[in-house]
Amino acid sequence: MIAAYKALLRAHIGIGLAYRTRLTVWVLTSLFPLLLMSVWLAVVDEVGPANGWDRSDFISYYAAAALLWHTTTSFLIWTWDSDFRSGDFSFKLLKPLDPFHQYLTQEFGFRAIVIVILVPLLVGITLLVPALHYELDLLGWALTVFAGLTGFLLNVVMAMAFATIAFWTTQAGNIYSLWWGMGAFLSGWVAPLPLMPPIVEATGRWMPFRSSMGFPLELLLGRLDGAEIARSFAVTAGWIGIFLLLYRLSWRRGIHRYQAVGG
């Protein structure tokens, strides 16, 4: 099992590296959250700190959001959909290794490259831009990284559960985007949750989206106390469990319907 993981990871990192243009583009698209940041800075310019968030808070928040976006977003559902249409899914089924692991390693492989490229870049920027401030102790950093990792895992498992819808509709991507789009609101992506209307903020704290975005970010800015940290981790763990269960159930019912299209 471990050998299979190692080999698959190696291969998928190789594939990722074969697409140098794609990688460059990815790094470029990390500018998008900086556009959102830019608007917040304009707000701060007009009326001063919003709810106690000043310039440096926003810069720190969105710089890290760029990294999190690239490291925790799962593209699994699109790979799955295209595998379904092209028939490559059959090859994954023929292997004596559950497709779950084959997809998981694929996700990890791509993520690994992004991290290797982005982290040094971000560290460099952090040192150069004085507005960035992450005043954390070692435990804080460790917790943030761990939160990012569990958030990523949740995203993958969530995507996997949604992907099994393809057994019925041959396409799951759109349904997932709807769900994910709802999440953009509740995750802390559009705006930090504390700046959202109270009802949105409260809902966001119980939904699975904040786990990979708002939660690690607020942790990073040192805005969460012990109880809130524990509660957030519990929410993440709970959702991972729920989606794993849904995935298993749905897989077992769906696999009977698989039509092995495409050759």
Binding site: A11, G14, S90, K95, P96, H256, R257, Y258, A260
Partner: protein
Amino acid sequence: MQEPAIKVDELTKHFRVHQREAGLASGVRGFFRRKYADVKAVDGVSFSIQPGEMVGFLGPNGAGKTTTLKCLSGLLHPTSGAASVLGFTPHLRRQEFLRSFTLVMGQRNQLFWDLPAMETFLVNQAIYRIPEKDFRIGLDELVALLELSPYLDKPVRNLSLGERMRAELAAALLHRPRVLFLDEPTLGLDVTAAAAVRRFLTDYNERHQATVLLTSHYMTDVAELTRRVIVIDHGRLRFDGNLTELIDATTPHRIIRITMSEPVDPARLGEFGDVVKTDGVTAVLQVRRNATKETAARMLSELPIEDIAIEEPEIEEVIRRVFAER
């Protein structure tokens, strides 16, 4: 008699498909009101194959060959009936089962498109848990037989179709499967590449006593690789037996090919049988099967024959007749 390697009993697979005619208008209509039809891709097929046998699986497009192979590979759950491969029920997809067979589809491939083929081999080694020593031995053997060594380090996308197919075969056989399902393994290959694949398959079968079930549109594949053929059409079994029996049963004639020392009038040739074609000096004739010997003898004595050959009809022709019969 041994336990068969593959046993198929009244296997049936129905698909529910949405029916649609061409054109945008009917597309829009179908969007609101859907017509479905049950397609009987495989409809009560039974056969069994002994270990080590190589069997040709024939039928026109859409006959149900690929669907049967997919049922046998555990990709599809049969609607009814049963299949067993090496004693396993395929669609339960047990690990031991998945490790003991392979499915090769000529028009698709499992290789990582952007990486050298070697990477796929290494991944398969890990996934199939092939011990390092067996892996090396098996790989060396496959690389030698398939003459792969110049291509191992090139990205798959840069290989030609034939090279890619050979690499695909190596990837599919690394774990030394005991059962091979081959769906059009020579599709699109040129003559030399196809011959290389056939040579390899015969060799593999002899070395490892593997059971092979093969579909192909190229009758050379079938004639060279297999003695027994199973013919299906519209999801039903039409014939199961020796290739020669099939030929005897369906084509009551043979072909005589002659070369003569001087031109002979086609009308004169017509006295011996149906002239398929002639240019005066060479000719191809069709004669009744049971009169072949006698006709050939008469030709030898009455015509200025330089060379004579008696051939079975093209197998494509045979298959055409099988399906024209209904």
